[in-house]
């Protein structure tokens, strides 16, 4: 296990380095952030002062090495727009995104797994087919549109929920979370639903596929031949087997959502990382964009590691060394 982790760490560092070069070049080759930052009425001299202050007068490779040497010391650069360390800025928005994604995935699992089991085990009936058709919609409807429709329906017409923004927060270990207050939950409801819908579809289909395959297996028949109750067969034999691929997909999906819940955060004015990313891209706040991509890469590395561990834990046939290849 230790060896495995070490090997993975080394691999990851190589990945992070490659990503850093790619994103750095991509971002620094495009556009001129000074134009967007400086007061339009600034004079030429003021502009030049800003350019040198931001280090933009250095050649690109020099800027990269400055960035790299700072990065290994933990300094991922300072945001052009917010004058805050880029990493700190992103991390300050992480709790908001985290609680949104976590709740969305929870809701999606609680709804998706039972639905998927129903469809997978009872394949041919009409309800099952309706669920599968519904899941196609859930997956295909553009996120922006359905977010707006949710707002229209619940906030404008019914006036049950607030249209956007994050609610009151409560500090847990110094980190502000909003799901512990009623106001916070009211604000969380719609963005969570919006984010959950395509994931419900995903999990339903995944579970259904797994369940319908699993129920055909000999070991299920054998369990029945032993006189095992259906409930136990579903819970212990089928679910336990299909949970493995489901959890691995969920893990990757979780990491992906943490990084890119941009649309939902934009529609609902949710002050999370995704919204920060989009704004920073527009404003050419390069340090933030670079730091963001690096952080996201790191998150994916960690998520993949955790998924591998979980996989090895859940499936006794697989050992960690096998996961390496």
């Amino acid at each position: 296990m230790l060896l495995f982790t070490l090997q993975r760490m080394l691999q990851s560092i190589a990945v992070l380095l490659a990503v850093s070069v790619a994103v750095f070049l991509a971002v620094y080759a495009v556009g001129d952030p000074v134009e967007l930052l400086v007061n339009p009425e600034a004079t030429q001299l003021e502009r030049e002062a800003m350019v040198s202050r931001l280090g933009l007068d250095q050649p690109v490779w020099m800027q990269y090495f400055t960035f790299l040497s700072n990065a290994v010391q933990g300094d991922m650069g300072t945001s052009f727009v917010h004058a805050e360390p880029a990493l700190q800025l992103i991390l300050s928005r992480m709790p908001a995104t985290f609680e949104l994604v976590f709740l969305a995935m929870l809701v999606a699992s609680i709804i998706g797994i039972p639905l998927g089991l129903y469809v997978g085990l009872k394949e041919e009936n009409r309800i099952a087919r309706a669920i599968m058709t519904g899941s196609i919609f859930g997956y295909s409807i553009p996120s922006f549109w359905k977010g707006m429709v949710l707002i229209l329906f619940f906030a404008v017409w019914l006036q049950w929920l607030p249209a956007s923004g994050r609610g009151e927060t409560v500090s847990v270990f110094g980190i502000p979370f909003s799901f512990l207050t009623v106001d916070g939950l009211r604000h969380l409801a719609m963005p969570v639903i919006n984010l959950a819908i395509p994931n419900i579809a995903l999990i339903t289909r995944l579970t259904a596929a797994g369940a319908s395959e699993a129920r055909m297996q000999d070991y299920v028949k054998f369990a029945r031949a032993k006189g095992v109750r259906e409930k136990r067969i579903v819970r212990r034999h089928i679910l336990r087997n299909i949970l493995i691929p489901i959890i691995t997909v969920l893990g990757v999906e979780f990491g992906s959502l943490i990084a890119f819940s941009t649309i939902t955060e934009t529609v609902f004015a949710w002050p999370g990382m995704g919204k920060l990313l989009i704004t920073s891209i527009y404003q050419l706040d390069r340090p933030v964009v670079v730091a963001y991509v690096m952080l996201v890469t790191f998150i994916f590395v960690v998520v993949n590691l955790l998924v591998d561990f979980t996989y090895a834990l859940l499936d006794p046939r697989v050992s960690l060394s096998e996961r390496m290849s």
Binding site: E124, M216, Q217, D218, Y219, K221, F222, A223, R224, A225, K226, G227, V228, R229, R232, R236, H237, R240, N241, I244, L314, D315, P316, R317
Partner: protein
């Protein structure tokens, strides 16, 4: 071993019919299947692949999955028609009074659960029992089927055991609740020849020890000739000949049975071509009219092509053939 003729049969199957639903209709996999089994008796159910023998085994305890469906007939076990039982009542019979062993040991066991858990659930789903006692019972049964260090094995996962060992586990599982009938669906077909022989011998011993009735489903006449008390030969979904093992093997009446006997490799003299029955077994959807064997039968006549043969009996030996073989004349 001679069966006790005075008591009523343990299992009496009458006109069992199971069909498979395809887009263009329902095709029978077994039809008019009837036979009896006495307590403690071993019946060998023999047939080629496609004869419906496995379907027959599953149909006895209602384990036929869609698109298959058991449509008619009776399966009387100790006087009760299993087909008339509710789902829950049938569940209680399975694994307790009637157990089953499957063909492929590599897929029979759930890869993510331990051997012990899979054995203990066979016990705990039928009776409330102290886990430690149940575990001990499993360990003891594993010893009985010839598994070494059963205390370690019981906590291992299926992939840590070889194919032969896994099949022994399956057998042990079938024995756990001391059933009165075990249905074994080609339990040695997927194993090495050497292991086959071992398991066969062990099954024989166990069967004699426990007095459990056994239906041994196989395509290999040779395998079953040692073990069985009676043999039933299946073709195209029905039993074409059934009787005491000696009667059937020494004086077969049905041409198909003769063909099977002749094609057992061990009997062919060295150098001679292996004798096979010409042609192939009919598919589910293309069952010939009249006697289903007629396309491959060297004795077929026009009658065979149009009319199904009636059941003929001679004591305990019965067959369905318009032109049965004469016991005096066969080699």
């Amino acid at each position: 071993m001679m069966s006790d003729q005075s008591s009523s049969p343990l299992l009496a199957v009458e006109n069992l019919r199971t069909v498979f639903h395809f887009a263009d209709g329902a095709y029978p996999a077994i039809d008019s299947l009837s036979f009896e089994l006495r307590a403690g008796e071993v019946l060998g159910l023999v047939g080629e692949s496609g004869s419906g023998k496995s379907v027959a085994g599953f149909s006895l305890i209602g384990l036929v999955d869609a698109p298959g469906e058991i449509v008619s007939g009776e399966v009387r076990f100790k006087g009760r028609d299993l087909r008339k039982l509710s789902d829950e009542e049938l569940r209680r019979v399975r694994g307790k009074s009637v157990s089953m062993i499957f063909q492929d040991p590599l897929t029979t066991l759930n890869p993510v659960l331990t051997i012990g858990e899979q054995m203990m659930e066979a016990i705990s789903e039928h009776e409330t029992v102290d886990p430690a006692a149940a575990r001990q019972r499993c360990i003891d049964t594993l010893t009985k089927v010839g598994i070494t260090s059963p205390q370690t094995r019981v906590d291992q996962f299926p992939h840590e055991l070889s194919g032969g060992m896994r099949q022994r586990v399956a057998i042990a599982t079938a024995l756990l609740n001391q059933p009165e009938l075990i249905i074994a669906d080609e339990p040695t077909t997927a194993l090495d020849v050497t292991i086959q022989g071992q398991i066969l011998a062990e099954m024989q011993t166990l069967q004699k020890e426990t007095g459990t009735a056994l239906i041994w489903i196989t395509h290999d006449l040779g395998v079953v000739s040692e073990l069985a008390d009676r043999i039933a030969v299946m073709y195209a979904g029905g039993i074409v000949e059934i009787g005491q093992v000696d009667d059937v093997l020494d004086s077969p009446r049905h041409p198909y049975t003769l063909g099977l006997l002749n094609s057992v490799p061990g009997d062919t003299p060295r150098g001679e071509a292996l004798r096979q029955i010409e042609g192939a077994a009919p598919s589910l959807t293309a069952r010939p009219l009249g006697c289903p064997f007629h396309p491959r039968c060297f004795r077929a006549s026009d009658l065979c092509r149009t009319e199904e043969p009636p059941l003929a009996e001679a004591g305990d030996h019965s067959w369905r053939c318009h032109h049965p073989l004469d016991p005096e004349k066969t080699p």
